[in-house]
């Protein structure tokens, strides 16, 4: 009987701890399109899919975190790479929603697109619940992205000049291989080594794969990494020139080819990967 009592007490304690140590109960309202969050379900979805890496407390210290590179995001800091808002600002709900659906390329963070839209909205609520910043601040307005001008050789040349002038090469290298003189010294906001993007791999970017995504990345910066925001340094036209130049750096090595590429080696592989 004493064993039974002990067990019941232990289980009640476990339930209580689960409730208390989960995402903060004061999760902010989340709205994505016509969907609003269900914080309780969000906690359950977070526990099922996210807790192994991001941890029960959202601090990026899940059981699997020691084995991952890059490390899982620490939600308690409320610092996010992929945003549509200016550097230093909180992300919009849609930014978090899209990151969850897209995943973070070349990391352990998969695309959670297979989850229902409602589940992803619920997870956004859980993520926001880990940091008091979401209670105290509002996200800034998103950085506008003007329509993309046509690609032209003159624009690419101007982009190349900007690449030098803005000293992108110091990290990303003269040929965009991620091997600039500063590359080996870079660290993230937690003093962990971090490597700059290698354009020549042709891989997707961490925060998307379209030209608009690339534009957004260097206008907003990747908070928590050494990649700064150039919103104050370049005009929209210059930003597009830089986008068009960066696309010329991308080639497709065999290791990223699909089976068909390996077999048929079509001439349009580069074009396809650059889309």
């Amino acid at each position: 009987m004493s064993l039974l009592k002990t067990t019941v007490i232990e289980m009640l304690g476990a339930i209580l701890l689960t409730v208390l140590s989960g995402p903060l109960a004061l999760a902010q309202e989340v709205r994505v399109g016509d969907l609003t969050e269900n914080a309780k379900q969000g906690k359950e979805v977070y526990r099922r899919y996210c807790v192994g890496c991001h941890g029960q407390l959202g601090n990026g210290q899940g059981e699997n975190a020691p084995h991952l590179d890059p490390k899982p995001r620490d939600f308690t800091a409320a610092v996010f790479k992929c945003r549509s808002t200016p550097t230093g600002s909180l992300p919009l709900d849609t930014d978090l929603f899209e990151t969850i659906g897209r995943g973070i390329h070349a990391s352990a963070m998969p695309s959670w697109y297979p989850l229902t839209r409602q589940e992803r909205v619920n997870v956004v609520a859980s993520v926001k619940g880990f940091s008091p910043r979401f209670h105290e601040e509002k996200p800034a307005d998103p950085v506008p992205i003007p329509p993309e001008p046509p690609t032209a050789s003159a624009g690419i040349a101007r982009g190349k000049q900007l690449y030098k002038k803005l000293e992108c090469w110091k990290c990303h290298g003269q040929e965009g291989r991620g091997d600039g003189p500063s590359a080996s010294t870079l660290t993230d906001s937690k003093d962990r080594p971090i490597v700059p993007y290698d354009f020549t791999t042709g891989e997707r970017f961490k925060c998307g794969q379209s030209n608009q995504d690339l534009y957004r990345i260097f206008m907003t910066g990747l908070d928590g990494t050494p990649m700064p925001s150039y919103l104050e340094d370049v005009t929209p036209d210059q930003a597009w020139d830089l986008v068009h130049f960066l696309r010329t750096l991308q080639v497709s090595p065999e290791k990223h080819m699909s089976l068909r590429d390996l077999v048929r080696r079509p001439s349009h592989v580069e074009e396809k990967l650059n889309r």
């Binding site: 039974l4 070349a106 998969p110 409602q118 396809k272």
Partner: protein, 463 residues
């Protein structure tokens, strides 16, 4: 916070399990692969509603050829010490009842005549051992090899295939070659029952008692090629297989004909209730009615006089948040030569009034996923013969005349699975299950109903 073994030692957890067992003597595997969890750092619960039952993320992962499509799926990206291998075995205690088993009137005296009696066996036991290895050989080239043994160590290949993924750079074209699980409506390899009576879908393996169809059912892994495709989130899926008519047996044991299987399904979101899925499927095959013989002994692979059969139906998977229902309907029909066991080269031997046996069946299986670490499960299954192969009234081997409901089957299963260990490294489930199956007039001596039941409790270990 990490529940159970994360915070408590093994001993105290076992104590709790014992108490839970005493309190609720009625709380529940096939394919759960911690090798993937170790590769990607995801917990079992990321891919499994409750392993081995897949959720939609796991379905997409499987549909992508065991890839999460982050350009890091190829083995070249893995630590050199990583090897994708998983072992699964279930130490257990179980009890089996058969209410009308044929036994010798005097034990040990085979001439004393047969009588029926209730036979019960019980004790500690082991399941077979599955030794999984699966993953990617390169980007978009996947493989799976599953050597498996029974509880006595007899070895066979449950599955062995290679798959070429995303052909034409499209998720709609994937080609699998080898022995594989059919893309069944509701996977029997990933369901949550283990007992001898309840550890399979009756419908997936049903053939009438007098039938000689060599097809083991859509639940059996088959040898052949499979073309599959899916949308990005696998809401829309299809599978089309061309299979040797050997029911998955190796060394070409039966015949040289081919079967076809197809499955198409569509999922949709219903407000915040969850993901709903509906689909249709069909298997069309042939089975031999006689073999070439040598001194009267059939020569393997020479099955001849093949006659057709089919299994077809529709299904749905319905979610009401934590509660879900899997529903399936199947209609089956075997050619009259198969149904009556008559060689096709001896048509005159067909019994008078013989028909192609036909049946309808279905099941409803429900799960309540309390949390990723506890799931309750129940299932009811029914099979009804709508056309017997022989004329009604024909004497059965027991001497009892054939009735319309001969062979009708009802099965119920309920149980639960509790997962004290569910990490990105390994899985352990405590499983309890009760199952009961009744087959009308199947008792071998008296022609009474035959009822079997099973109770099992044990640890399902996946590492």
């Amino acid at each position: 916070m990490k529940l159970f073994l994360d915070r408590h030692n093994l001993k105290s957890s076992f104590c709790r399990m014992g108490v839970l067992l005493a309190l609720a003597s009625a709380c529940t595997p096939a394919y759960g692969i911690p090798a993937f969890a170790r590769k990607y750092g995801l917990r079992c619960s990321a891919c499994h509603e409750a392993w081995p039952k897949l959720n939609n993320f796991g379905q997409v992962f499987k549909d992508n050829g065991y890839q999460i499509m982050n350009d890091r799926d190829g083995p070249i990206w893995q630590n050199v010490s990583y090897f994708p291998v998983t072992f699964r075995i279930t130490p257990q205690w179980h009890r089996e009842d058969n209410n009308n088993m044929a036994i010798d009137h005097t034990a040990g005296v085979s001439t004393s005549g047969l009588v029926e009696a209730k036979v019960t066996t019980s004790g500690f036991d082991l399941s077979g051992l599955d030794m999984w290895t699966a993953g990617t050989l390169a980007k978009n080239i996947s493989f799976l090899v599953l050597p498996s043994t029974d509880a006595n160590g007899n070895f066979h290949f449950e599955s062995a295939w290679i798959r070429f993924d995303n052909l034409l750079d499209s998720g709609w074209f994937n080609l699998k070659f080898g022995k594989h699980e059919l893309d069944t409506p509701i996977s029997e390899k990933r369901f949550l029952q283990l007992t001898a009576s309840g550890g399979f879908f009756q419908l997936y393996h049903f053939t009438p008692t007098t039938d000689i169809n060599s097809f083991g059912g859509i639940g059996n892994n088959q040898l052949g090629i499979e073309l599959t495709g899916h949308s990005r989130n696998s809401y829309t899926r299809y599978a089309l297989s061309l299979l040797s008519s050997n029911s998955g047996g190796v060394n070409l044991p039966t015949s040289q004909t081919y079967d076809i299987y197809a499955n198409v399904n569509q999922a949709f979101e219903l407000h915040n209730l969850g993901l709903q899925r509906v689909g249709v499927y069909a298997y069309w095959g042939q089975s031999p009615t006689y073999f070439l013989t040598s001194a009267g002994v059939p020569i393997p692979g020479t099955g001849s006089g093949s006659r057709p059969f089919y299994r077809a139906g529709t299904y749905g998977i319905w979610y009401i948040r934590k509660l879900d229902f899997s529903t399936l309907y199947m209609r089956g029909k075997d050619n009259v030569f198969l149904g009556t066991g008559t060689p096709f080269n001896q048509p005159a031997a067909l019994p008078a009034g013989a028909h192609a046996p036909t049946w309808n069946g279905g099941f409803v299986e429900t799960h309540y996923t309390w949390s990723p670490q506890l799931i309750l499960v129940a299932r009811y299954e029914a099979i009804r013969l709508s056309q017997q192969a022989f004329r009604i009234g024909t004497p059965l081997p027991s001497g009892v005349p054939l009735t319309r409901d001969f062979g009708n089957t009802d099965a119920v299963v309920f149980g639960y699975r509790w997962y004290p260990i569910m990490t990105s490294r390994a899985g352990l489930a405590w499983h309890q299950e009760y199952a009961r199956v009744r087959i009308r007039h199947a008792a071998p001596v008296t022609g009474r109903d035959e009822t079997t039941s099973s109770f099992l409790m044990g640890f399902d270990v996946d590492f």
